[in-house]
C-alpha cells in the first residue's frame, strides 16, 4: 500500500489554505491530492489560447499600447464570483472541460512565431495554474518576452513574490473595499488582495487596477471614493484605474447592466480624488477610453474600444508639455 494514500495535503498557495483529502481537489478544482502529493492537473493544458487579443482587451492601457498579446488560461479559479463573466471556464471541473496540450516551451515558441512581445495569463485565474504560469513566465523572460498577469490577486505573499520576479505587468481586480462584498459575492477576503497590489507595486511591477461596478452592490459614491482614495494612498495617483461595466450573467442575472452614467460618475469621483489616469471599460465612452496628459490635459493615446487610433507619446512623455507619463511604452 502506498503510504501517501491516506495523507491530507494543505495547499499554501492562496489564503484559503485548502485542506485536501486523498483524491480530492482544492476549491480551485485544479490542485489535487494524488497519493499524498499535491498535483496541478492543468499544467500545460490551457483551455483557451489566442495570439490575437490586443493588450487593451485585458484591459492594460499603459503597457505596450497597440500591441497584440499571446493570451492563455486553464480552467479553474480560487474565487467564486457570482458575477463572473467567464464562469463557463472558471467554475468548471477539468474533467468536464476541453484543453490543448501546450507546455511552457511551446507557449513561448508560439509567442515568437506570431511575433507577440508579451504573454498574458488571463481569462480565469493564473494563480490556480501557478506552476504553469511560473515556468512559462520564466522561460518567456529568458527569451526576451514580457509577462502580464490578469488576476484577482488572491494569493499568499511568499508565492506571489516568487512569481512576480518574472512578471512585467499586473492587472489586478479590486472588486470592492468591503469585506462583506468579498465574502458574499466572491467567497474571498479583501486584505490579501490589497496586500498583493501593494507588494506588486513595491517590487517595481507595472500595476493597473480594475473595479467592476455592479449596480446596488458596489456603486455608491462612497464606495467608489474610498476605493480611489485607497489606490491613490497605497499604489499612487499615477496608477491606471479602470471602472468596468457589469453585464447580468451567471448567478447575477437579476441585476441590471451598469449604466454609462454610473461609470462616468465613478471616473469623475476617482479624478476628483487625484487619480491621473481613469478609464471606463465595457461601454463606449469617449472620455473614458483615451489617455490624457495630467498636466496639459491634451489627448495622448486615442482609443476606440480595444483599438489604438493614435499614440502621440514621445519617449514616454507628452509631446506638448513634456510631462512624463507613467507606464511601459517600449
Amino acid at each position: 500500500m502506498n503510504r501517501g494514500q491516506n495523507v491530507k495535503v494543505q495547499c499554501e498557495l492562496c489564503p484559503k489554505r485548502c485542506l485536501i483529502g486523498p483524491g480530492q481537489s482544492g476549491e480551485c478544482r485544479v490542485r489535487v491530492n494524488l497519493d499524498g502529493v499535491l498535483r496541478s492537473v492543468v499544467y500545460g493544458f490551457p483551455c483557451s489560447m489566442t495570439a490575437d487579443d490586443p493588450v487593451e482587451k485585458k484591459p492594460v492601457f499603459h503597457f505596450l499600447p497597440g500591441t497584440k498579446i499571446l493570451s492563455l488560461a486553464t480552467v479553474g479559479c480560487n474565487l467564486h464570483c457570482k458575477n463572473c463573466q467567464n464562469w463557463e471556464i472558471s467554475q468548471t471541473n477539468p474533467e468536464d472541460s476541453h484543453a490543448y496540450v501546450c507546455p511552457p516551451a511551446k507557449v513561448v515558441a508560439l509567442a515568437r512565431q506570431y511575433n507577440r512581445p508579451s504573454i498574458a495569463y488571463t481569462y480565469t485565474e493564473p494563480i490556480v495554474y501557478y506552476e504553469y504560469t511560473y515556468d512559462t513566465a520564466r522561460l518567456a523572460k529568458e527569451a526576451g518576452l514580457r509577462n502580464v498577469l490578469v488576476t484577482a490577486g488572491y494569493v499568499n505573499e511568499e508565492p506571489w513574490r516568487k512569481l512576480l520576479q518574472y512578471i512585467d505587468a499586473v492587472r489586478i481586480d479590486l472588486k470592492s473595499m468591503s469585506e462583506a462584498f468579498y465574502r458574499d459575492v466572491c467567497s474571498a477576503t479583501l486584505k490579501p488582495v490589497q496586500n498583493s497590489i501593494v507588494v506588486a507595486k513595491s517590487m517595481g511591477v507595472h500595476v493597473e487596477v480594475i473595479n467592476l461596478v455592479i449596480p446596488t452592490l458596489n456603486d455608491k459614491p462612497e464606495d467608489l471614493r474610498s476605493l480611489s482614495q485607497w489606490v491613490r494612498a497605497n499604489v499612487g495617483k499615477e496608477t491606471p484605474l479602470h471602472f468596468s461595466g457589469f453585464y447580468p450573467t451567471y448567478q447575477m442575472r437579476h441585476l441590471p447592466p451598469t449604466s454609462l452614467q454610473s461609470l462616468e460618475t465613478a471616473r469623475d469621483i476617482a479624478m476628483s480624488e487625484g487619480m491621473e489616469y481613469v478609464y471606463i471599460g465595457n461601454r463606449q465612452s469617449e472620455k473614458g477610453e483615451h489617455t490624457y496628459c495630467p498636466a496639459c490635459k491634451r489627448v495622448l493615446i486615442q482609443r476606440v474600444g480595444f483599438t489604438v487610433l493614435q499614440n502621440r507619446l514621445k519617449d514616454g512623455r507628452c509631446p506638448d508639455c513634456g510631462r512624463e507619463i507613467h507606464g511601459v511604452w517600449k
Partner: protein, 60 residues
C-alpha cells in the same frame, strides 16, 4: 529500587511517550506545500489546437 533508578525509568518512559506522540502528531498533520507537481494526464478531453489567430471570446 532507589530513588535515582526510579527517576531514570520515569524519564525513559516519558521521553518514549513524547517521541511517540510527536510521531503520531506528524502523521496526523497534513503535508503543507505551495508547489504542485505537474500531472502527466489531463482529466478532461484533449483537443487539437486550432487557429489561434482569432480574438478570444472570453473577457480579459
Amino acid at each position: 529500587m532507589t530513588r535515582r533508578e526510579f527517576l531514570c525509568r520515569i524519564s525513559v518512559v516519558v521521553s518514549a511517550m513524547g517521541g511517540c506522540l510527536a510521531w503520531m502528531g506528524r502523521k496526523a498533520l497534513p503535508r503543507r506545500t505551495v508547489w504542485a507537481n505537474r500531472s502527466d494526464d489531463y482529466p478532461g478531453v484533449i483537443m487539437p489546437m486550432g487557429d489561434i489567430r482569432t480574438q478570444s471570446k472570453w473577457s480579459g
